[in-house]
């Protein structure tokens, strides 16, 4: 009985989310684009996330290099360290870790902000003031998240590789130019493009789930907390699912 109830609830939620996504696309193409709010959201979602993304990317690159080094020495391929780290970061670790950090920071903040706006009737007040709240709040945030995450991934990758360069030089002596030559010589367009494209999907997933949870927040402060929490959990899981799909699609298209 409980299982069937859980399945029904899951299907209901999936249906409502699909409806929300369809509404997003319908509203996106409707005229009167909220350019100033979109620009503000790009600043809040993109620029303000850069310090956190940069710090985690730097540590990730440094630690990954230091952890890989002993194994590379064992196999006698220490000179390939920049190439291996470069491919790992650009193809997989960079987009996924950045998307998870992004889900934690932006997913929760969108969920909590829209949730509290919902329970304090600010969304209704917007509607009464001649504003389409879905366009003003949801479309701008989802688009900003979709466009800003790939930019953050690119910047995060670069910072991560710089961390890796420092990691290589803790116990070695590799020039900056040689390190970057090693990385770039072993990277191809087919490494960068799928990773870049999938980060758009990650950004969209984080934005739409954060907005869906916040916009449909139930009454009360407890509901706001639950919205923020479930926005992070669901969008993080979605990042892994989308990553799995992206790998399969890339494999099918023989891009690797």
């Amino acid at each position: 009985m409980n299982e069937s109830l859980a399945i029904t609830r899951f299907l209901n939620e999936a249906g409502e989310t699909s409806h929300f996504i369809a509404r997003f696309f319908r509203q996106w193409f409707k005229p009167r684009f909220e350019l100033s709010e979109f620009t503000r959201q790009c600043f809040v979602i993109g620029y303000k996330s850069l310090p956190l993304v940069g710090l985690t990317a730097f540590i990730m690159g440094l630690v990954l290099t230091m952890q890989l080094r002993p194994s590379m020495i064992d196999y006698g391929v220490e000179s390939q360290l920049p190439a291996i780290v470069g491919i790992a970061i650009v193809r997989e670790i960079g987009p996924v870790i950045t998307a998870l950090i992004f889900a934690g920071k932006i997913g929760s903040s969108i969920g909590a902000e829209l949730g509290s706006m919902k329970v304090t009737e600010q969304i209704d007040a917007m509607e009464v003031s001649g504003t389409n709240p879905f366009k003003y709040l949801v479309v701008t945030r989802v688009l900003a998240a979709t466009l800003m995450l790939p930019v953050l991934v690119l910047l995060g990758d670069a910072i991560s590789l710089y961390g890796s360069y420092l990691g290589v030089n803790i116990r070695g002596n590799t020039s900056f130019v040689f390190f970057w030559k090693q990385v770039l010589d072993n990277l191809s367009f087919s490494d960068v493009l799928p990773a870049f494209i999938k980060s758009f999907f990650f950004g969209f997933a984080v934005g739409i789930i954060g907005c869906y949870k916040g916009y449909n927040s139930s009454k009360g402060t407890e509901g706001v907390g639950r919205s923020a929490n479930s926005a992070v959990v669901i969008s993080s899981v979605l990042v892994f699912i989308l990553d799995l799909i992206a790998v399969q699609v890339t494999d099918l298209l023989n891009l690797y």
Binding site: S116, T120, E121, Q122, D124, A125, M126, V128, S129, N132
Partner: protein, 265 residues
């Protein structure tokens, strides 16, 4: 205004005197609204004339807030018709609804001030969003005029979080006033305020009504507000307009469902 109370139909019929030539601003006909099995409004009827202040009185959860949210188009009724300024708002398109909303003020129970904006930005928001063509100087003047109306001109650059509950209510009222609405819908304007601040807000609402000759619909269960502000009181019971009249008429009413609201007065 006469009170006709038909106990068989369990529905108060709101009639105006035949010599009453004032313009009807709001007309609600056979309004139904349900949430799943919960029938909130059942064949609700109401007419409101220009300059009139109608107080809708009812228990918590009786559908008072649902009623004014239907009037402003935030909720769609299941059945029935609502005419605001002579135009039906049921099934109306977004642009037309926005035009009607520009002439309608709504004071939310929770004030609904935008947390991320200053008081000035909160007041400017409806002006900018309704695309009213005014210069920045005129916008500044309108903001200051509205703030002066509520006696809070000095808070113009403050954030809502820096204000007390009473001040927030006044700012919300100033935001409602900025478009000089012809009708203002108040959703429990004194809830959560101490009695003194509550009286001040009621006084302010009456001043505004006199100054701008606005029509007002007040949702309340604050008897002080009901007595002081209402020209006419509508009692909402079981989703219907159960009784209607002025304060003295209803005070003398012997029907138990009406009497319960006036016990202890």
């Amino acid at each position: 205004m006469t009170l006709i109370y038909d106990i068989n139909k369990q529905q108060a019929v709101v009639n105006k005197n035949t010599d009453d030539t004032t313009e009807t601003v709001l007309s609600i006909r056979h309004l139904y609204k349900s949430f799943k099995e919960n029938h909130v409004l059942v064949d609700f009827n109401l007419d409101v004339s220009k300059g009139e202040t109608v107080v809708v009185l009812g228990k918590s959860g009786s559908g008072k807030s649902v009623l004014i949210k239907c009037i402003i188009g935030l909720l769609q009724p299941d059945k029935g018709d609502i005419e605001l300024f002579g135009k039906s708002i049921t099934g109306i398109n977004e642009t037309e609804l926005d035009k009607i909303r520009a002439k309608t003020g709504f004071l939310f129970q929770s004030n609904a001030l935008y947390d991320s904006m200053t008081v000035r930005q909160n007041l400017e928001f409806p002006l900018r969003r309704h695309w009213i063509k005014v210069s920045q100087q005129q916008v500044n003047d309108m903001v200051m005029e509205s703030l002066e109306d509520v006696g809070l001109a000095h808070t113009v650059n403050m954030m809502p979080a820096e204000l007390s509950g009473g001040m927030r209510k006044r700012i919300a009222l100033a935001r409602t006033l900025i478009l000089k609405p012809e009708i203002i819908l108040y959703d429990e304007p004194t809830t959560g305020l101490d009695p003194i601040t509550g009286k001040e807000i009621i006084g302010l609402m009456m001043e505004i009504q006199q100054k701008y000759n606005t029509t007002s619909i007040i949702i309340s269960h604050d008897m002080n507000c009901v007595r002081t502000a209402g020209n006419r009181i509508v009692i909402l019971v079981d989703g219907m307009c159960y009784a209607c009249g002025n304060f003295e008429q209803l005070l003398k009413n012997t029907d138990p469902k009406v009497k319960q609201f006036f016990e202890g007065i």
